[in-house]
């Protein structure tokens, strides 16, 4: 929380440059190319509104359009994902920090250097989610696109609802989580996949039978059509009471 507060404090002066960006974003919206193919994520539609560029109130750290120059396709990324310029800058800094050899793209080993991530029970899955199955390199736009899933939903909900395929809409977030479970990408979470997740999360403290019974019970609870696996719709339904839009957020990415 304290990190956030500091950001709020510094720099309210970026608002003017922000408006400039909004204007330029609007103009360039029409001729922005569609997102490159080969991404494991569902295609993101180009945003219609600039509401997300506003985001919450408070300070925008850093300068305006000038620093975006060394981020390739900065404007387009901003529109697609809804991040503000300051956020993009910060993410770029982080990207550079992770990319120790200055190669311009990230590899799984770079992620594994983050110590806390190795202690995380599903750290491996998260890393794998960043990298599509055949590629071993992660460039900055893909990095940002995945992190866009964790952006809080903007103020004007009505416009968000018009684009249900948004990365940070409820469906987008659920889809991301679903794919973390569903490693073989067959569109269903089978009992085995659930068991793997449980094993990873609960580790050695639990007996195998208990894990199995929990997995069994979970599948039974969620499974409506009786195929013994959880499809995406069933997954959505079982989480309908969980306030996903508000849970799956990183405040930082606001």
């Amino acid at each position: 929380m304290s990190v956030q507060m500091k950001q709020r404090g510094s720099g309210g002066g970026a608002s003017k440059s922000r408006d400039l960006l909004q204007v330029t974003a609007q103009r360039s919206r029409q001729d922005s190319p569609p997102p490159p193919a080969g991404q494991p994520l569902p295609p993101l539609s180009v945003r219609a509104g600039e509401d997300n560029l506003r985001g919450g109130g408070g300070g925008r750290m850093g300068s305006g359009s000038s620093s975006l120059k060394h981020i390739p396709d900065g404007q387009q990324l901003m529109e697609e994902t809804g991040f503000s310029a300051a956020h993009l800058l910060r993410l770029h800094e982080r990207f550079d920090f992770l990319d120790k050899d200055g190669r311009g793209h990230l590899r799984p080993e770079d992620f594994e250097e983050i110590r806390e991530l190795t202690e995380n029970p599903i750290g491996g899955r998260i890393i794998a989610a960043f990298f599509p199955p055949e590629k071993e390199r992660l460039d900055f736009p893909s990095f940002v696109r995945i992190l866009a899933h964790f952006r809080p939903i903007g103020k004007n909900r009505s416009r968000d609802r018009a684009q249900p395929e948004q990365a940070n809409s409820r469906t987008g977030k659920l889809k991301f989580a679903f794919e973390l479970y569903d490693q073989d990408r067959d569109g269903k979470i089978s009992r085995e996949e659930l068991l793997q997740v449980l094993r990873a999360m609960l580790g050695l403290q639990v007996t195998e039978e208990q894990l199995r019974s929990i997995a069994e019970r979970a599948v039974q609870e969620a499974d409506i059509d009786g195929d013994g696996a959880i499809s995406f719709d069933e997954f959505k339904k079982s989480l309908e009471k969980v306030d996903m839009e508000h849970k799956m957020n990183i405040r930082f990415l606001k």
């Binding site: 929380m1 982080r94 050695l204 019970r217 979970a218 405040r251 930082f252």
Partner: protein, 760 residues
């Protein structure tokens, strides 16, 4: 006609009982007089006898009175008698309200209770007696703690910590704003000539402001509990009412000290700020210390389960009292104690103790609440009043105004930091829910300056009445009108639990990738610390390493087993089990047909006979009579009945499968989690008499020795697992393990495993 008749008779009964009780209360208050009168007459003869004590033996033969067969000596039971009668009266009132259904829908219980209090007080006063007043000591030491403990022990932690920032801002800044605004404006009002209250100085006004500004947890609980509002709003208002205690305490003491002095210097104000931090942090620390002590104590109570709840209550009460000794915030200490103690205590104590704690807390807090409201009514009638129109009216207006302004202003600032913004509807409910209650009254009662005290008290009572009656009554229709989201009644779902934990891990990971030390990062660190160090110290035995998901799952299974028992389907279990999963027997149709390999009838009979014989032997209970033992009730019997049946079925299935399928299974062995429930003192399995069906006799010694290693610790269980590996090559060890495996969770893993392997 019959329906109408019963309605009328019920109403009549309600009214009659009410009148009766009022009558009784009056008599009780009147009787102390009679008792004192009787005492006096008693004293005189004893006085005489003392004088001529020397003559007494001589005179005894002359003045001998008859041996009293029946005597009336009310005096020496008068105090407990009166107390019990009051409590009884309060509870009968509570009962009575629900007999008259229509009224209790419109009017919240708190209003009705105050009304009754007014009635009783009025009647008592009419007979020229002095009714008991809501004594400050009585209130703060006996009536308030149960309510706060109940609230703190069952505080929903997740929403509370998620909204902690908002709650703190409302509690601290909001209360400060209220106090200073009301105090300042009242001082301005007092300057008006027409009010004739020019003698009230600024400090007294500020003192008054600090008393009346605090939102009261008792009133909020009483009203909000009935309207079932959504969790966020509930926790906001309620959390605020709990945490503003520190502010109230500091402000009250500060202004009270200096109301005598007359002036406040800047140094004093600074000391006040420091004092605020000391009071709040100190209160929390005291609560944490007692909470840890309580959790630690509960680790060793496995042999005396009966006194477990007492530890919880006493440690919490001590926390409250200790905080009050140092003038720290008792409420915060109590809350901290309950919150810290709960997860560890619940892991240690038996299920029955948990139920006991829950119901005792609810019971005490219910009684306290009822008594508080009734006494409030009685004190209103009794208390010396000094009604000053302008003072009271302005107080009322200013209270409302400052509340609204405070909430709106603070929300505007808070919304910049929140993900879930507070809408206008939410703000309205938060502002409207700022009820004042008995705490304000008691604090006012504590004032020493009699001249202004009466006027202040009158104003305080008026505000309390207004908020409780008007706001309390109208909040329910307003909630309906504004279509505020209500509390969602959702069943606990294991899916949600799994996914929530998964999300926690995911978000922590993403935060680490972004290099952002946010909310999840610290939560994860705290959980890790909790798991590695704290739990080892505070939780007994094997359960210290039990992850949260497992205990959640266990609780779910237990609940379902109980539901099965209650719905009476226990008898049908063995046959049901073959058709559908045991766990979801009542909920859904069998998901898929489980193909159980069929064996010949005679074989089956044989197996059943053997199994039955062995299982029955295990039911020998060795019980010694002792007053401190909890007797098993039929409910518990049927629960263990269920357990037995389940195991029997499992065993049957394993045996049948074993007999038909070649025994080259690669089955992952199970670590035997054997948990001896001490309260049952049972389960003396005679290992020597396990089925000798030609099956694994050689595995017996292993299993026996496994059992004897019963003190469970994670290291041990993994060791057991390894041993299980070693003997895998033998026949089906599982069939032997089944009767000996008393897992605490009613897991039914066996059949499914086998069928999957059999089919696949």
């Amino acid at each position: 006609m019959a329906g109408l008749g019963s309605e009328c008779s019920r109403r009549l009964a309600g009214c009659v009982s009410l009148l009766l009780l009022v009558f009784v209360a009056v008599i009780v208050s009147a009787s102390p007089d009679a008792a004192t009168g009787a005492n006096e007459t008693l004293r005189h003869p004893s006085g005489h006898s003392l004088d001529d004590s020397h003559d007494h033996p001589r005179n005894s033969s002359e003045h001998r009175k008859a041996f009293p067969v029946l005597a009336f000596n009310y005096e020496h039971v008068s105090k407990p008698f009166v107390i019990s009668l009051w409590i009884l009266l309060a509870l009968l009132m509570k009962l009575g309200f629900h007999i008259i259904p229509r009224v209790s829908h419109i009017v919240p219980e708190s209003c009705l209770l105050i009304f009754v209090g007014l009635l009783v007080g009025g009647v008592i006063k009419a007979m020229d007696q002095t009714p008991p007043v809501l004594d400050t000591k009585l209130f703060f030491l006996y009536l308030l703690p149960p309510i706060i403990l109940d609230a703190g022990y069952f505080l929903p932690i997740r929403p509370f910590t998620e909204n902690m920032g908002t709650i703190l801002v409302f509690a601290v800044v909001g209360t400060l704003w209220n106090a200073f605004f009301i105090g300042g404006m009242m001082f301005a009002v007092c300057q008006i000539e027409a009010a004739r209250v020019g003698h009230v100085d600024l400090l007294s006004c500020l003192l008054f402001g600090s008393i009346i500004s605090a939102v009261d947890p008792v009133a909020v609980l009483a009203v909000f509990e009935e309207i079932h509002i959504n969790e966020l709003l509930h926790i906001l208002v309620f959390g605020e009412s709990l945490l503003n205690d520190a502010v109230t305490v500091v402000l009250y003491h500060l202004f009270e000290e200096f109301a005598h002095e007359g002036t406040v210097t800047v140094g004093d104000a600074l000391l006040g700020v420091v004092s605020f931090f000391v009071v709040s942090v100190g209160g929390v620390m005291v609560g944490v210390i007692y909470g840890v002590l309580g959790a630690f104590t509960s680790r060793f109570t496995s042999h005396s389960r009966v006194i477990e709840p007492l530890f919880v209550f006493l440690y919490s009460y001590m926390a409250y009292l200790s905080a009050e000794v140092f003038h720290l915030s008792g409420i915060m200490s109590l809350i901290a104690c309950g919150v810290i103690m709960r997860p560890y205590v619940e892991a240690n104590i038996s299920h029955k103790s948990y139920t006991t704690i829950k119901y005792f807390l609810k019971m005490w807090s219910s009684v306290s609440e009822t008594l508080i409201f009734i006494f409030l009514g009685v004190s209103t009638v009794e208390g010396p009043h000094n009604w000053n129109w302008i003072f009271v009216i302005f107080t009322l207006i200013l209270c409302l105004l400052s509340r609204v302004l405070g909430v709106v202003g603070l929300t505007f600032i808070i919304n910049k930091f929140r993900i879930i913004k507070l809408t206008k509807k939410d703000q309205f409910i938060v502002a409207y829910g700022g009820l004042r209650g008995a705490i304000a009254f008691s604090l006012g009662f504590l004032l020493t300056d009699t001249e202004k005290k009466d006027m202040f008290l009158t104003a305080i009572i008026t505000v309390i009445f207004f908020t409780v009656f008007v706001q309390g009554m109208t909040i329910r229709p307003l909630v309906e009108l504004l279509a505020v989201k209500k509390k969602k009644e959702s069943k606990a779902s294991i899916n949600e639990e799994i996914h929530t934990q998964f999300l926690d891990h995911l978000l922590t990971g993403i935060e680490d990738i972004c290099g952002h030390y946010g909310h999840h990062h610290w939560k994860d660190k705290l959980n890790r610390f909790n798991r590695t160090y704290v739990k080892k110290w505070l939780i007994a035995g094997d359960r210290s390493s039990e992850p949260q998901l497992i205990s959640f799952y266990n609780k779910m299974e237990m609940k379902e087993a109980m539901m099965l028992v209650e719905s009476g389907s226990a008898a049908k279990l063995p046959s049901l089990a073959s058709a559908a999963s045991l766990q979801n027997a009542q909920q859904r149709a069998p998901p898929k047909q489980r193909a159980i390999p069929s064996i010949s009838k005679t074989r089956e009979q044989e197996i059943r006979k053997i199994l039955r014989a062995n299982l029955q032997k295990t039911r020998q209970r060795l019980r010694s009579y002792s007053r401190h033992d909890l007797f098993s009730d039929p409910f518990e019997d049927s629960m263990s009945e269920i357990r037995f049946r389940k195991q029997r079925v499992q065993m049957e299935r394993r045996m049948s499968h074993y007999l038909t399928v070649p025994a080259n299974r690669q089955e992952t062995p199970s670590a035997r989690k054997v948990w001896f429930e001490p309260e049952h003192k049972v389960y003396t399995y005679d290992e020597s008499e396990s089925p000798r069906d030609g099956a694994a006799l050689e595995t017996l010694p292993d299993t026996v020795s496994l059992l004897s290693e019963s003190p469970q610790r994670p290291g041990q269980s993994s060791r057991l697992r390894k041993r299980g590996d070693a003997e895998q090559s033998a026949n089906a060890p599982d069939s032997q393990e089944e009767p000996q495996k008393l897992s605490r969770c009613f897991s039914d893993p066996g059949p499914k495993e086998e069928e999957e392997e059999g089919e696949g």
